[in-house]
Amino acid sequence: MDPMEVFKIEVTGQEEFGAKKYREIIMDILQDLGLIRSIGRLYVYIDIMKPVFAVYGLLRSGIPPLTVKDVGDVLKVEGGYQIKINDEEHMSDLLKVLWAQYGRERVEQPSRDIVVIASDTPPSGLTVADLEAEFLQDLTDALLRVAPEGFRNRRNEMTKDSFFFIAAEETLKPEMIAEMKQKIREMENA
């Protein structure tokens, strides 16, 4: 069963096999990059005679930015605050943020997963990483991997809750983009 609410693929001509296979490829790539849970609906339209490849997707609700209290436990200690890191993945981002906020001389790392700050203000609310920006980067990467390789002319329109990606061998003309958007709207309403 698909983890997405809607996942439709339409391919022109006698290419049922291609449609079936592209479904598998898209699932494999989205799963590899860990994006599958963030996409609600996905519509893919491929016209191999033109040839053009278009994807339209609706994203699930936004991802909140990662704060210091998400990556570790903040404790009040003598002369400042101590952060016990639980998620090392964002360690470098965390240190960068703390250095920028408090200055290097007030941030100390006595052991691998402990950071001590000499300050009166708790660091809990500081933003460590903007996960949404990372997600959008990964999504663009996934779309480039999914699209057939020869389709070098690409356009990617991203908004807060949706994305539209089109790739073709020939130059992308406004009429073609409009036509693809129309096709995808038809798929949505079908």
Binding site: V11, G13, Q14, E15, F17, G18, K21, Y22, E24, I25, D28, I29, D32, I48, M49, P51, R145, P148, E149, G150, F151, R152, E169, E170
Partner: protein, 307 residues
Amino acid sequence: MLEPVMFTGGVYKHDLVIELVEDLGGYVLQKNVTQSEVILLLLVPTEDMPALESLIKELRGELVRAPLAGTEVAVVTPTLAIHHLPHTACDIAEYLRRNGAKSNMMGLARGVGREIAQINEYESALINEHDAAVFIFGNFAECIRKKESLYRNISVPVVVTGGPKIPKEDLPYAFEYVPSIGRVAHRARKATEIGTLDSIIDAVGRALDRTRNEISKDPLTTSPPRVMDAVREQVPEVEYSYSPLPIALNLNGLRVKLPYQGYRDAVKAVTFDEGVKLGEIATIKPSRMKEYILVRILPASETGFVF
């Protein structure tokens, strides 16, 4: 008749296998030592197989038939980008290797797309140095038909693979078409996927058999493994080549992995027991692969004798 086989076993006493094969008049094509294990590609006279089998049983090794041994097969993808590699291409190349072939992976510079795909003279000349080629295409029948232009001018048999089922008549320039292995984003692990790899090996085997048949109508002056042995003996520098396989065999000759400029004359001067020089029975030219030496043995119709 020489039987192509692959021996896998421990390093301990494996030189006994090599000695026996040489005593029987067979050839060691390739030797790969991986830590404590050794893999040997051998050509052994069919009538002496029981002798080898009993020795290998004693050494607790494994002996399997390697139908593609002594051949070089090109695995060609439209490019070397993430869309075509690694899964399908590596699976096919690895499978060819397990069956004894020397497989070379090639990505074309501009092989992508439906309308814009192209191949240049250098690429086709390089593919023509192999014994057969496998072209890996994608999932759309229309694109596979259109991309025929990529292999139309290749003179060695071309096995085309792709996703959908396409009747053979639609691809007149392909030796064979193997369906259900188009673009995939995972390694082959299901039984059906492995089965498809087997059918590619079968198709390549048939392609090589056709070439072997053609050669048998006008046999080569001498066999490539014999030339390999002589070159190995008389041009010892070849053993110092950095390539894992310093001499690669083809059905109609071999590739010596030494610089053409420096070693052309040494290879030409290789002499056989019968007093014939290699330069007299073969053309020796620069290979398209790096600066290597390509040896093409002349057929009996040109030299007038076979030994």
